[in-house]
């Protein structure tokens, strides 16, 4: 039982990270109906920027960890958002109105570019960071096993919660959120009614990238390592999360993220750690076959 609780905590932490990435997929898919294949790599870029920024701050003599983390958060969100904007501007915007598979192929190209760019710029080796947030709490103990809740896990889950609430408010209450919802319902109609769709789509990418960069920082804090390839697997799993929750739905993305995180953790804990990615990928296939609209999604109507 204790063991199960421990896995539950680990799963929720991992699920928060997936959920943050999944939002980027689900928003972009909701608005322009494309799978932003490069989103996982934007997450990886966010992690790298955070790592480098943190090391640079350390080298400059800033040792107060909370302040450093705050600066890293701002810098990484800002710069990763810039990456998101650039990717959309150069690889996707010229393709609006092109044939069906063009944006996806372009996105695959962009994903390859980002991966190899980071590999060339920062090397292929795994970069590790000493643990920044230490300590934790023992929740309850038995003779054989004690359930630990580390401070990093608290930070990850809390940050995710705060961002989710803030982002839901942006979508529900602000002008930008209204524009985004309008674009999601009908892109052409929204543009006829005076919504600047280019700007809205750009901002969607910017916000998605910023959230992905937070996920990158959380990943860095939680695991302490990044390399240029983490974006691929994390991206596919986050996409699975978005599909599982119902693509286009924000609460769905979060729910899907949590479920994927839990399933992956439980699978590693009780079955086999080697096949945890197989489990996640199989879920993607099974969900798409039997539940293509996801848990909270709306059925898609095929239009001629």
């Amino acid at each position: 039982m204790e063991y199960f609780f421990q896995q539950l905590i680990n799963g929720v932490t991992l699920g928060s990270i997936y959920g943050l990435i999944a939002i980027g997929y689900t928003m972009v898919y909701g608005i322009i109906g494309m799978i932003n294949f490069a989103h996982g790599d934007v997450f990886m870029v966010g992690g790298f920027i955070a790592l480098i920024c943190f090391l640079a701050l350390m080298a400059m003599g800033l040792t107060a960890i909370p302040l450093a983390l705050f600066i890293v958060l701002l810098v990484a969100m800002g710069l990763t958002a810039l990456y998101g904007w650039t990717v959309e501007r150069f690889a996707y915007r010229p393709l609006r109105g092109s044939f069906r598979l063009a944006p996806l192929i372009s996105a695959i190209g962009m994903s390859i570019i980002l991966q190899n760019y980071v590999q060339i710029a920062q090397g292929a080796r795994v970069k590790s960071l000493p643990p920044l947030i230490e300590g934790g709490h023992t929740l309850f103990e038995s003779e054989t096993f004690s359930v630990q809740l580390s401070n990093v896990q608290i930070v990850v889950v809390l940050t995710t919660l705060v961002l989710m609430v803030a982002f839901s408010l942006v979508v529900a209450k602000t002008r930008l959120g209204r524009d985004m919802r309008a674009c999601e319902q009908d892109l052409k109609m929204a543009s006829l009614l005076g919504v600047d769709i280019d700007r809205t789509i750009s901002l969607t990418f910017v916000i998605g990238a910023a959230l992905a960069s937070v996920a990158g920082i959380m990943y860095l804090l939680y695991y302490g390592v990044v390399d240029f390839f983490i974006g691929f697997v994390a991206g596919v799993k986050a996409f699975t999360a978005a599909v599982l929750g119902g693509i286009g739905s924000l609460p769905g993305a979060m729910l899907g993220g949590l479920l994927i995180g839990l399933i992956e953790t439980m699978w590693s804990a009780y079955f086999s750690i080697e096949y945890k990615d197989v489990a996640a990928f199989s879920i993607l296939i099974v969900v798409l076959i039997f539940l293509p609209t996801g848990i909270l999604g709306r059925p898609e109507v095929e239009k001629v």
């Binding site: 393709l95 598979l101 190209g109 570019i113 596919v236 296939i285």
Partner: protein
């Protein structure tokens, strides 16, 4: 400000004034600075204590930002803010002769390929490169059936390649079956896997299908990697038997190919033989594809690529049509995989990662989806080109990525898209229709 821009869009196809161009370029340089400052300007490396230390690389950063500034300044001066369009038409001097070039390029390439072992008999390196290029030509042609003809984006094509390679390797090492028996078996097994995967997932929309095939490809690779007792895990399978020349093995001595034919033994015999085998297999793929395109099923593939809903309204069973395309593509992938296994003599899951799928897809996309000649030229250009620039090996995938994006933006029908529609209804008047 916004209004003037909207009004002047039509007129502003030409140059921007100097000051505005300067402003645009400065903005672009600022963005580049933001993008590259941490990634290029700073470098993290293992320090003497093992912890990461940051070093600066501001020269590279300055050069890159400078290049972006000059580039966007020139672009703004020459083209303004309009996106640069190269159009889908070939330059005039080729345009008029495209048909002629197209008609002769194929046979010329084929003739050249046939002569390669004769011309470069002493050059082992070139022969190996030729075999590699032809393997990718075959893979490209196989994937072309799925992506180019049927319009199904398959991101896990390498899975079928892996199935073929492991089928041959396992059948040959465990049961001692010969290459020539295993070759069709590998194809059939791969096609079987294609149907197995295809049956449940082919109802999905285009981009969902792409992700599912990607997941499938990764599952196959992970299973090959982790199922140690069956596949050897990360160590792979070694000492896979080499093919024989209709029962004559390529060995020095009694009963070997060289001795039986009264030739002096040379290891090149086998390389030349392998070259012709893969050439024949690739040509078989091409021939089957060309014939299939003239059959009802091939017509249905192309119709489905253009408009799936219309296809269904006309009573075409799209599930079956998709399945045949998937199975066909998978079969050729499997055959190519078996060839790969026998040529290498060693296979491991490393050879079947997603990068390989992306490479084959890039070849198909670059060649112009659906064009047989285009795929061959693209495979030759890509693998040959990167062999020429070997010292820039690490930039290879980066260039692939840029090529894929650029092709989608400027020439979505591919670099050498001289492919004619299989079926003409009437002569279309006016300029060539942009791909929809």
């Amino acid at each position: 400000m916004r209004r003037t821009k909207a009004v002047s869009t039509k007129a502003a196809t030409t140059a921007l004034p100097f000051a505005a161009a300067l402003k645009d370029a400065a903005l672009a340089a600022l963005v580049a600075f933001g993008l590259f400052f941490f990634m290029i300007g700073l470098y993290t490396d293992q320090g003497p204590t093992g912890a990461l230390v940051v070093t600066t690389r501001f020269e590279s950063l300055t050069i890159l930002v400078g290049v972006v500034f000059v580039g966007s300044f020139a672009r703004a001066l020459l083209f303004g803010r309009e996106p640069i369009r190269f159009g889908s038409k070939l330059p005039a001097w080729i345009g008029g002769r495209a048909a002629t070039i197209g008609r002769f390029a194929g046979p010329a390439l084929l003739g050249f390929a046939l002569l390669v072992p004769v011309l470069f008999y002493d050059n082992r390196y070139l022969l190996d490169l030729g075999i590699l290029v032809l393997t990718y030509v075959m893979l490209g042609w196989g994937l072309n059936i799925v992506v180019g003809l049927a319009g199904l984006l398959d991101l896990g094509y390498v899975a079928f390649y892996a199935v073929g390679a492991y089928s041959y390797a396992l059948l040959a090492t465990h049961f001692g079956l010969s290459f020539w028996i295993c070759l069709p078996l590998a194809g059939i097994l791969a096609a079987f896997w294609g149907v197995m995967l295809g049956f449940p997932v082919l109802r999905l929309r285009g981009d969902y299908l792409a992700i599912v095939t990607l997941a499938f490809g990764e599952i196959i690779r992970l299973v090959l990697l982790n199922w140690q007792s069956f596949t050897g895990g990360p160590n792979g399978i070694s000492s896979i038997p080499r093919p024989s020349f209709f029962g004559l093995p390529f060995i020095d001595g009694e009963g070997g190919f060289a001795e039986t034919l009264g030739l002096e033994f040379s290891p090149t015999h086998r390389v030349v033989f392998l070259f012709y085998v893969i050439l024949a297999l690739a040509l078989l793929t091409n021939w089957v594809t060309l014939r299939l395109r003239r059959l009802p099923v091939g017509r249905a593939w192309e119709a489905m690529r253009e408009d799936e809903i219309a296809c269904r309204s006309l009573g075409i069973n799209t599930t079956n049509t998709k399945l045949t395309a998937f199975a066909m593509g998978a079969m050729f992938g499997g055959v190519a995989g078996a060839f790969f296994a026998t040529r290498q003599g060693f296979i491991s899951p490393e050879s079947f990662a997603f990068g390989e799928s992306a490479l084959v897809l890039a070849i198909v996309v670059l060649g112009g989806m659906g064009s047989q000649l285009g795929v061959a030229v693209a495979a030759l250009a890509m693998l040959g080109g990167f062999e020429l620039f070997r010292e820039f090996e690490q930039y290879r995938m980066l260039v692939f990525g840029f090529a894929m994006v650029a092709i989608m933006i400027w020439r979505p029908r591919g670099l050498v898209s001289t492919r004619e529609p299989s079926l003409h209804l009437a002569d279309r008047k006016g300029p060539a229709k942009e791909p929809a």
